[in-house]
């Protein structure tokens, strides 16, 4: 970490975030401050800048620097079937209920580079539900969405993905779903035939469809409480009657204005169901 007078850094951070909003319409103004600060400190060092004012200067004049910065601010490297218990919970407690619908819509909010999208597509496929499901995979980072749509992951990560898949209760072998090419694993196009990749911001956009399941994992922890409440409000509005919401394994609704609208249906795995009255 570079040595800085904290107050100056905080002022520059605020100015940079405002500049990004005015110039590019990306809104980080309600992100959780501690993580934002940490990410910007790292980005500043990697960009070879001495201050966030220098970063701001570059970002305002060079769109490609902004796109680099956007990766530092938004891209979370996830894993396929991260937290296998979550997918087991969906398989055992949610899929039997989703099966009763003639057609399904699933929203992966903040899908980043797509690991979670393919995990859910595989789960739905193994439940015989993928053909009648439309998956909306949304993120604010267009480059991440492109990588998600390509569905190519570094081959060195596959062993971990396979292990997670097995522990999630997968019924086949993960290798049924990809082919290895050079140092990449290319996932089957059939998995994304039912996926719409789209640019959507939980901070500034509104609801676009009614869905039966929303999976939004480890995204809300980067928002402050007001923005968390906005996002959860969107989820509440988008979910059909008694629809399902899956969060990250340590994310909680406890401190949210929408806590009463949901009940936890898979203990410890953060799978919630919208209450009748909500």
């Amino acid at each position: 970490m570079p040595t800085l007078v904290p107050e100056t850094f905080d002022i520059e951070l605020q100015l940079l975030i405002d500049a990004i909003f005015y110039k590019y319409r990306f809104d980080f103004r309600a992100y959780a401050f501690a993580s934002l600060k940490r990410r910007l400190s790292i980005a500043m060092t990697r960009l070879g800048c001495q201050s966030l004012s220098q970063v701001q200067d570059l970002v305002l004049r060079e769109p490609e620097v902004f796109s680099t910065l956007l990766d530092y601010l938004t891209v979370q490297v996830s894993e396929m079937f991260r937290d296998p218990g979550y997918y087991r919970g969906l398989r055992e407690c949610v899929m039997p209920l989703l099966r009763t619908y003639p057609s399904l819509r699933v929203w992966v909010a903040g899908c980043s580079t797509g690991e979670e999208v393919y995990s859910l597509a595989i789960l739905l496929h193994e439940q015989g539900l993928l053909d009648r499901t439309l998956i909306y995979a949304t993120d604010i980072n267009a480059q991440a969405l492109q990588r998600a749509e390509a569905g190519v992951y570094d081959i060195t990560r596959i062993a971990g993905f396979s292990d997670n898949y097995r522990r999630a209760g997968g019924t086949g072998s993960l290798s049924d779903y990809y082919v290895a090419a050079y140092d990449g694993a290319v996932f089957d196009k059939a998995l994304r035939r039912q996926v719409v990749f789209a640019d959507h911001s939980l901070a500034t956009d509104s609801v676009f469809a009614e869905v039966q399941l929303i999976s939004c994992r480890n995204v809300l922890i980067y928002f402050n409480r007001e923005l968390q409440d906005r996002a959860l409000g969107l989820f509440r509005e988008a979910l059909s009657l008694r629809g399902f919401l899956g969060l990250g394994s340590k994310e909680s609704l406890r401190f949210s204005a929408h806590a009463e609208a949901f009940e936890e249906i898979v203990p410890h795995e953060r799978v919630f169901q919208k209450r009748h009255s909500a």
Binding site: M1, A34, S35, K37, R38, I221, E251, S252
Partner: protein, 209 residues
């Protein structure tokens, strides 16, 4: 530095410290087993702990530490307000940070020194919020994590303590912290325990709410 666990020469923390951050890795759970019983039931500070654990299994830290501690011990939750007299443990595979407010915050950003949770991440964020009212403690471990964090605590005016390397089960982490020059006090576990025992509103009646 006297090797006796007496309070002689050790500062009284009650008047100053509002939060304690503790970082531990290999051998750290045993060390915490010596320290946590020393926390007074009316502690005037919040205690935040990062212990490096193996990924992919539930953390039992709160269950392990609760019976040995007079204070409530729980796994940290995102956005939870930080309260004095409570002990918070970082959940496995998440960084724990202190955010404005002061509230707890979690992140799944990249591991630091191959560690998530990382001691540096907790200490650096807590130093921002608590400044000179923060006490940082580095215990036994086999990793450089914590050195940058302790430096940040010191730079922000906080108090910094490192476990005496000879008394650490695995001294690599404390040696790394010592080499950085960030340690204000180098103490044995009984001495650190005695220091933590002073974490109560000052007996002279000048207690702070």
């Amino acid at each position: 530095m006297s090797a006796s666990p007496q309070l002689a020469g050790l500062p009284n923390l009650g008047a100053r410290i509002r939060a304690v951050v503790v970082g531990a890795s290999a051998g750290g759970i045993e060390a915490l087993g010596v320290l946590l019983p020393a926390l007074p039931p009316d502690s005037c500070a919040a205690v935040l702990i990062v212990v490096h654990l193996l990924r992919g299994r539930p953390s039992m830290l709160a269950e392990i530490f609760s019976p040995m501690c007079a204070l409530p011990v729980a796994e940290a939750q995102d956005k939870e307000p930080v309260r004095a007299g409570r002990v918070y443990c970082a959940p496995p595979d998440y960084h724990l940070l202190v955010d404005r407010g002061a509230r707890l915050a979690l992140s799944v950003d990249d591991p630091v020194h191959f560690s998530r949770p990382s001691i540096d991440v907790l200490f650096e964020s807590a130093a921002e919020i608590y400044g000179e009212t923060l006490l940082g403690i580095i215990l036994s471990g086999a990793n450089e994590d914590g050195t940058a964090g302790l430096t940040a605590v010191r730079r922000a005016g906080g108090m910094t303590v490192v476990q005496q390397p000879d008394s650490a089960a695995v001294p690599y982490m404390v040696r790394s912290a010592l080499q950085s020059g960030a340690a204000e006090l180098v103490l044995t576990l009984p001495q650190i325990a005695a220091l933590l025992g002073t974490l109560q509103n000052s007996p002279s009646g000048q207690s702070r709410s």
